[in-house]
């Protein structure tokens, strides 16, 4: 069976371009056609870009010249909160619907230099707040495995674009699981780098101490290519770190996989648990070991996250006031301008989190909520550090259940619970990956599930290797 060009992985496409089996133009056309055909149904993209002839020709020349980076000529999707100069970047919010990026995000700049191509800007939950894309101001994306179900979020459009072969790879952002959770729900690979591994310059901020530009790909190897293309210290983001900041890690021949069994007793679908156990068994049969570990503070991770993230979001979203850019509603005073613009421009979930963030930061409550959460964050990190003394990576399912139906999680707490396993990596800053681990059946439809691995700070590369062991690739 021959794959269509848009169905190739980045690795396969890079090889095909170099052996002249097809051209950059043919690859672009295959993806652009698939995107155009499927987008009305899936709503993965808020905008599809016209072919950039100059970029396509120049990518072809570099490939023919024999010195092109791997992403040269590869069509990718960019989440709508990552700035591409001259393009709209709305974060799927009405308040930024008319905002045109005045500069390239550092990641985008690097990708342009490497000759990567952008198919369009991908749909998301407004400002990254959500786990389903139902909070997009421009309608939700749909899961290609079952269009009555959500694709996950917030980088749902990016995940759908990859899963439905509209692009070969995509970038998203991950503040609490926003690349890993939709990847799990759509059957692709989602990666969140170590905090500070990739520049946040040019990302529309949600929770600044949690945000990272993340990768969504068809294979762990592709995720590594996407990550390598954007990683590195950046003078425009002081939280990016220099090489050598974290201890060097050797990729072990035999992995010790830590499993916190005490976190897996309740609240996980039986068949998801079965997939996890089967995946761990098959890793054991390859010579890796499963080590029981304990992470007692992890049961507080989600409450900690839903204090810190709204706190940071309420501060970051204070800048949208209708004065300098974006939606500008007018009242009879400057204050009325702010209030009207924000009331009109923000959807329900941003408003909810702005109010919640304002509450946990208000005098009288800041000690009990924000400061305690910040301290708990330190405890969580110390606990993970201690666990990593007996294991190389930590494994659990990415989500407790497969993709849910639209409207199923209408109360906020049930939606927040989608992130129960993924938020800890953002709180600790540690890198994490979600890799497909087989399907489960719901209403007669097979839905994908994901296994989630966390590695120590700076040990991002371990995750592509363990991911490839799960998918049976060589890396």
């Amino acid at each position: 069976m021959t794959k269509s060009l848009n169905e190739l992985s980045i690795t396969e496409a890079a090889r095909g371009l170099r052996s002249k089996e097809f051209t950059v133009r043919e690859l672009w056309d295959a993806c652009a056609t698939a995107a155009k055909e499927r987008n009305p149904e899936l709503n993965a993209f808020l905008e599809l870009f016209e072919a950039d002839d100059v970029a396509i020709e120049s990518a072809q020349k570099r490939i023919d010249g024999g010195e092109a980076p791997l992403l040269c000529g590869i069509p990718l999707a960019m989440k709508d909160n990552i700035l591409i100069e001259g393009r709209i970047a709305s974060a799927a919010s009405k308040i930024l619907a008319n905002y045109r990026a005045t500069y390239d995000a550092t990641g985008v700049k690097k990708l342009k230099e490497q000759g990567a191509l952008f198919i369009g800007r991908a749909n998301m939950d407004e400002f990254g707040m959500g786990a389903s894309t139902e909070n997009s101001a421009f309608g939700p994306s749909r899961n290609p495995h079952d269009i009555t179900r959500v694709p996950g979020g917030s980088s749902g459009g990016s995940a759908v674009a990859v899963a439905a072969h509209m692009v070969l790879g995509a970038y998203g952002t991950d503040t609490g699981g926003s690349c890993r959770q939709p990847a799990s729900h759509t059957g692709v690979v989602g990666f969140k780098p170590t905090y500070g591994a990739v520049s946040r310059s040019g990302l529309i901020a949600l929770g600044s101490s949690l945000d990272q530009m993340g990768e969504i790909a068809k294979t762990p190897e592709d995720a590594k290519i996407l990550f390598d293309a954007v990683r590195g210290q950046d003078p425009l983001d002081a939280t990016t770190f220099a090489p050598g900041t974290y201890p060097a890690f050797e990729i072990p021949k035999s992995f010790r996989i830590g499993v916190p069994h005490h976190l897996l007793e309740d609240g996980i679908d039986e068949d998801v648990k079965e997939n996890l156990n089967a995946t761990l068994k098959s890793l054991e049969s390859l010579g890796h070991t499963v080590v029981p570990i304990s992470l007692p503070t992890s049961v507080f991770a989600l409450p900690v996250y839903y204090i810190i993230q709204p706190a940071e979001a309420s501060v970051n979203l204070a800048r949208y006031d209708g004065v300098r850019y974006g939606l500008a509603e007018r009242g009879d005073s400057l204050l009325a301008d702010y209030v009207k613009t924000r009331a009109e421009g923000f959807g329900e979930e941003p408003k909810r989190r702005i109010l919640l963030g304002t509450f946990v930061l208000s005098s009288g409550y800041i000690d009990a909520y924000y400061r305690k959460a910040d301290q708990a964050r330190g405890v969580l990190r110390a606990e993970y550090d201690a666990a990593f003394e007996s294991c190389d990576v930590i494994a659990f399912p990415t989500t407790p259940s497969p993709a849910f139906k639209f409207g199923e999680k209408s109360d906020p707490v049930s939606m927040y619970l989608e992130d129960i396993f993924t938020v800890t990596a953002n709180l600790t800053g540690m890198p994490a990956i979600s890799v497909p681990m087989g399907n489960v059946e719901r209403d007669g439809v097979l839905l994908p599930t994901g296994i989630h691995f966390t590695a120590p700070l700076g040990a991002d590369d371990l995750l592509f290797k363990i991911g490839a062991l799960v998918t049976g690739e060589t890396l």
């Binding site: 300098r324 500008a328 509450f359 330190g378 405890v379 906020p412």
Partner: protein
């Protein structure tokens, strides 16, 4: 803290602080939702922090040279184009101080 009940008055006050208008129907709904959200995040109450856990956040200072990072005017045009109201390259805003 987990037994706190949010009232519509509380939510209205937060909305004023956050400079966002919330209509009456939303005020009632947000107040109800806040109860369940605060009950959930209030679980944190049950966590006893170890003494050593109080100063575990890792902070490092990052400074850059005190100099102009780019030539003046490089970004002006692109930024000005985004202004909702302008005069030349200046951003127009409403008068802040009123004497009446």
């Amino acid at each position: 803290m987990s037994d706190m009940k949010a009232t519509t008055k509380d939510v209205k006050r937060l909305a004023t602080l956050a400079r966002v208008d919330v209509d009456d129907a939303d005020l009632t709904r947000f107040a109800t939702e806040f109860d369940s959200i605060l009950a959930y995040v209030g679980k944190l109450d049950e966590l006893t922090l170890p003494e050593s856990g109080r100063n575990l956040s890792v902070v490092r200072n990052v400074l850059r040279a005190d100099e102009a990072p780019y030539e003046s005017g490089t970004w002006t045009q692109r930024i000005v184009e985004q202004f909702p109201a302008k005069e030349g390259n200046s951003l127009s805003v409403k008068k802040i101080i009123n004497h009446d």
